[in-house]
Symmetry: C2
Subunit: 296 residues, 2 copies
Amino acid sequence: MNTLVRSTALILMSLASISGADERWSTADVMAGLEASDWRQPDPANLLYMQLASGTVIMELAPAFAPQNILNIKTLAEERYFDDLAIIRSQDNYVVQWADPAEEEGTAKSLGSAKESVKAEFERSLDGIEIVTIESRDSYAEIVGFSNGFPAGSDGTKAWLAHCYGMVGVARDNETDSGNGTSLYVVTGHAPRHLDRNVTLVGRVISGIEHMTVLPRGAAEMGYYESLDEATPIVRIRLGVDVAPEDRVKIELMRTDTEAFSDYVMSRRYRHEEWFVEPTGRIEICNINPPIRVTE
Amino acid sequence: MNTLVRSTALILMSLASISGADERWSTADVMAGLEASDWRQPDPANLLYMQLASGTVIMELAPAFAPQNILNIKTLAEERYFDDLAIIRSQDNYVVQWADPAEEEGTAKSLGSAKESVKAEFERSLDGIEIVTIESRDSYAEIVGFSNGFPAGSDGTKAWLAHCYGMVGVARDNETDSGNGTSLYVVTGHAPRHLDRNVTLVGRVISGIEHMTVLPRGAAEMGYYESLDEATPIVRIRLGVDVAPEDRVKIELMRTDTEAFSDYVMSRRYRHEEWFVEPTGRIEICNINPPIRVTE
């Protein structure tokens, strides 16, 4: 699609927002018509690079939703707390989780200047953030949409991040303020949305999740490994700003506050690829994965 | 929970069906109160045992929804068509798929007495099957529920199986009748419900899905492996009736047409475990995984 055709797509889009089914662009059409301004470069200050022996996992943090927890996680990363920790849990169709394996042996790593306890940030006021809403009959929230690329739910007053695939959260015990970011989990299965507003979500994996999802499942209860010998060592976790510029991945994420993203969602709602016979006309928030690309 | 307490639970349940939030049983409570009649043994004639080097994957077929496709799959299994085929695709957050790796090299295995082409069975009449409905604002279907343990959607006239985690489908080309069961896929990520009514679903993995979900992701387009060297050989696939009785797994599935299952769903809708602060009060069909147990 060239720029001219792209303009036509936008005109069609205005009509499509009424009738929907009249929109005939496939996802490939929409992607081919994207311009540089439809993409954003994530702020390296909000990226975590996790190095495993098998490769790099990159997470983008969402400070608008969990500022205090993320502050603590950044302190932990800056002070190299996570280095030599391990992925100690992989529960099929649910989560992987990492932590200090020595925590329960009384030889836990020092938290340095990070806090032992951080207040829960399960939800926040809708004031001060923008959620571009997605029309969907969501099973869990009255309102769903994307806020700066992150899937979110809302009741019209409060807003919270949604437990879609790849979302990163702060593990906690029964006390809501018992999490501090030393142990984080990543959703690796069907969206466990019942966790929404029960745990502090802090971001999403934007690259390399396959290094986590292929890990052997733990045989102990809840997918924990029976022995630490089975755990996957974390070589290190660094903030994006602390990664040497030449080692940073030139990653770009599709913006979720543009006409192009509306086109994209429409192309996922109505599937016009030749293969589809039932175009559905419906969409679910966790079934929308805003495109990500590496530019070099 | 003993039988007496169980009766009390059922009385509470009747009230709970009005108010919901008054139901205080946790999932563990419900499970502890189950009786033998709350479980079913799947018919071995409807089971497929897939043997991989890493272990056994067991699938239950749903002939009520795809009788012709399942008939062909049974013929293929009986005539040992699947033996020595391979898993040729693993796409993160989507599917694994197996097929005859030689298919595109002109040396494809003979289908024996199985059919080359089987009519699509994307949906069926609601008449003649029972769907125990689940109250849910589903993003894709007006009505959702379980039919003999399988997640299903309906518009009040037609019914179809839903693409939840672990569901097994018949791969096809653009022609709707181009599938024949020689190549099957399993959902290994967030439910791709936009595939509902676009592909024939034939069943669900009920044991050993972790042998599929940990497979390395394919680097070629759509998660196909770049080289067949990366593919995972299938030692064999056998119908449950063709597995020696002593090698059959004594697997039981929770029935989905009982009061106990209503209790179970209620315990997933309202989470009363101490950990939860937000009991949600909502549920989504693919976030309900009917319990499965091995009895010896």
